[in-house]
Symmetry: C2
């Protein structure tokens, strides 16, 4: 591996993360990397769920092999991420937009909002993570706050100004490029407890 100093992302010489370095990393990659860090360090066990697939035809070239030769993407009926943190059930959806001033709510499916409502009623810590890629600003908005917005608004776009005011800005750290757990820790342990 010596002789390829730039081959691996996150080499040991890279100790600070700046916006430029993070550009090009998707929100999903950042969340997955953060979840890996949380998991390895026993901070939380949170996974992205597999993409739901409708399998139509499978070919078995040999006894132990199975090749799916016809399948289709299905609409997810839940959010993409869930897991457990210090006894709390965590559930969220994450979306990014290249828009400048608004987040189109259509990016979150209706059944995902319904799911957030259901888990919220069951006592979940549920939220959405929204990133404005142009500014590299990522926010956590609790379901409760989002439902309040939904109850009042008739438009289908959430203004960035509203999000900046009602959301929690998520920091990017070296180990957790989308460190949403820090927000939950602060809100549930330092304030509510």
């Amino acid at each position: 591996m010596i002789g390829y100093p730039n081959k691996k992302k996150g080499s040991s010489s890279q100790v600070t993360i700046n916006n430029a370095a993070r550009r090009g990393m998707s929100l999903e990659e950042d969340i997955n990397a953060s979840n890996d860090y949380y998991r390895v360090n026993n901070l939380a066990v949170i996974y992205k769920k597999p993409t739901p697939i409708q399998i139509v035809d499978v070919y078995y070239p040999s006894r132990n092999k199975a090749k799916i030769v016809e399948a289709y993407f299905r609409q997810p009926s839940t959010t993409d991420y869930n897991g457990v943190f210090s006894g709390f059930y965590i559930d969220f959806e994450a979306k990014e937009t290249q828009n400048k001033t608004t987040f189109p709510l259509a990016l979150i499916h209706k059944h995902q909002l319904d799911h957030l409502r259901s888990v919220h009623l069951q006592g979940a810590v549920s939220f959405v993570i929204i990133r404005f890629t142009r500014y590299n600003e990522t926010y956590l908005i609790y379901s409760e706050t989002l439902f309040e917005w939904l109850a009042q608004e008739t438009t289908r776009s959430i203004k960035l100004t509203w999000i900046r005011e009602h959301g929690r800005l998520i920091q990017s750290t070296y180990h957790a490029p989308c460190d949403y757990l820090a927000i939950i820790k602060r809100d549930y342990f330092e304030v509510k407890k």
Copy 2:
């Protein structure tokens, strides 16, 4: 629909479930039906995770269609079921065996046991559901109990006699053919709280 009294499973005339009627229903189907019932009645929000698939090639016959033409099954890194019940994070794996006297632990992957350990450490209500299809007996065994067994035993098979003693027998009700939630309710609300 009149004139086809036997067409639908679970028609209104069928009010009791006996072992004979349930024979042929897989454990997965019973759990999914129970989860549907829990969800619709706001008792709990628990889902089976989609099967993890490695997608290799996708064909796009038109702009909005996507047909997966090459994909493979991946080993799951977590258990199959998770969700939330009254603020508790619920996580479990379910397996059935046709064996008469033992459950082969090999049916539960090592990384699934590791996952149960991790979520248990984070305060989850975690367990396995094991069904002996020959007797139509289904048991819930808490992770904690299973880990105690693992720490003491050197064999890779759990005796049915041990399971009968240390597990909780799950009842089958009309609405919830594998009513594991009743066990959790009893253990966490009536005893521990």
